[in-house]
């Protein structure tokens, strides 16, 4: 993996491992691993799209794993 995906992968994995709930934690870890494995060969636009999706998922994970949610007013 080149730099941006690898960084994202590590960030996602770190957040996934923080889930308190066993089943969610195991699912998140497996999901990240499977997604990156499946998208490994992507190039160009589709790769960029998946990376963007991954960044949104990372934000979600950060909220979910620690239970802190953005409450909008």
């Amino acid at each position: 993996m080149s730099a941006p995906p690898l960084t994202l992968y590590k960030q996602l994995m770190r957040e996934a491992k923080r889930f308190q709930n066993y089943n969610f934690r195991e699912y998140a870890i497996r999901h990240v691993r499977d997604d990156f494995r499946r998208n490994a060969g992507l190039q160009g636009e589709s790769a960029a799209r998946e990376l963007e999706h991954g960044r949104l998922e990372l934000e979600k994970l950060r909220r979910m794993a620690t239970g802190k949610h953005a409450m909008e007013d």
Partner: protein
């Protein structure tokens, strides 16, 4: 509930809260657009138009609405309904209520594999048949009914087809137009969404009309009055969206774990029977009978395991089962049946643990059983004359 669903719901549980039907209030607008977006997410998952999705409190309400709704709307000329003996209680009960109102209901028996006999169904359809109601995936034994063929049969005979798809939506790909379904019940919590929300798909072309159960403000195109619980609606939509994306990955995961569970049990425990068709089945639901084992004791042993793993997905349950009886499973075997559920969040470790526990406890309980001893000695239990005392 999937954590991603909760994540989608939370902004709507505070701050953005508003009545989705209050079109003049600022927050009302936001709630309404989010609810309509969710409606579209539900519709997409099943191949429907969002105008065909009516939100309800769950599949029980949807089933009631569909069955009673059709009967009461078309009841003047159409007085006959066909369903199966293995339907969910709410379907059977709704039919019983209609019988008390003077409708005629045929409860189709199922074959030994749990599937409907299509020829028998065809023979029972009459000119005054209003509705055929058959569930897609059975919640107890996991068998998948020949929905495509039933839809075709109903369309040919101009009979409405209602399908309780609570256990199917989000788990197997389905399209209401391909399958020629006219009404379909969907459950939110069965696809890792919140409890207390579901939907009824009601076909618009050709038009299906139902008499609503609730009287009131005429929401949901007059079919279901009541303020939408928009946080639940948003959660339901998110759950459908996620299910659509994850369907392939979930299916592969569940198939793998299901094979592991089945292999583990069947290869290490003699005298087990899988209830229901092994070909036409949803892999996430495995119903097995362990012969010569006292059912409740086994369940209690396994309940501990389910509790300690903290997952509702691998819970084992023992129920006195009218479904198994409909399959012709004899009483003793029905009593020792255990249903295993495998889902998105089930882990391999949990499956292995389940197998180990099952093997251990089945062996232990059989050791204690004099009946088992006799079986080992080759005695045919059915030939025994039990003496009176």
């Amino acid at each position: 509930m999937d954590p991603r669903v909760l994540d989608a719901m939370l902004p709507f549980l505070s701050g953005q809260f508003g009545n989705p039907h209050s079109k003049t209030h600022e927050y009302g607008w936001e709630a309404e657009s989010a609810s309509e977006a969710a409606r579209e997410q539900v519709a997409s998952l099943v191949g429907a138009d969002s105008k065909e999705i009516v939100f309800t409190s769950g599949a029980t309400e949807s089933n009631n609405m569909a069955i009673k709704g059709i009967a009461h709307f078309y009841g003047e000329k159409k007085r006959h309904i066909i369903t199966t003996q293995t339907e969910h209680k709410c379907v059977l009960d709704s039919c019983r209520v209609l019988q008390q109102e003077g409708f005629e209901v045929d409860y189709l028996p199922v074959k030994q594999d749990g599937l409907v006999d299509l020829e028998l169904l065809r023979s029972l359809i009459r000119p005054d048949t209003a509705l055929v109601s058959v569930m897609y995936v059975n919640n107890e034994i996991g068998v998948i009914q020949p929905v495509r063929e039933i839809g075709q049969l109903c369309r040919e005979n101009k009979v409405f087809f209602h399908c309780d798809a609570a256990q199917a939506v989000g788990k197997i790909p389905l399209d209401v137009n391909e399958l020629k379904i006219d009404l379909m019940s969907i459950s939110g919590h069965k696809l890792y969404g919140p409890k207390g929300i579901g939907a009824l798909y009601v076909r618009r072309r050709p038009r299906v009309r139902i008499e609503p159960i609730f009287s009131g403000g005429g929401q949901e195109r007059g079919m279901r009055s009541g303020t939408l619980p928009h946080s639940l609606v948003v959660g339901f939509g998110a759950a459908c969206d996620i299910a659509g994306r994850e369907l392939e990955a979930d299916t592969a995961h569940i198939a793998r774990l299901s094979a592991r569970l089945e292999q583990g049990l069947v290869s290490r425990i003699p005298h087990v029977v899988i209830n229901g068709s092994t070909e036409s089945r949803y892999k996430g639901n495995l119903n097995i009978s362990f012969a010569y084992v006292e059912g409740e004791s086994l369940l209690m042993a396994l309940k501990d395991m389910a509790v300690s793993s903290g997952s509702a997905c691998t819970s084992a349950s023992l129920e006195p089962s009218y479904v198994l009886r409909a399959l012709g499973v004899d009483e003793e075997m029905a009593h020792t049946s255990i249903r295993f559920g495998i889902g998105r969040f089930t882990t391999e470790a949990e499956v292995d643990y389940a197998v180990e526990n099952c093997v251990k406890h089945v062996e232990r309980l059989r050791e204690m059983s004099p009946l088992w001893e006799m079986v080992q000695e080759g005695i045919d239990l059915k030939s025994i004359q039990w003496s009176q005392h």
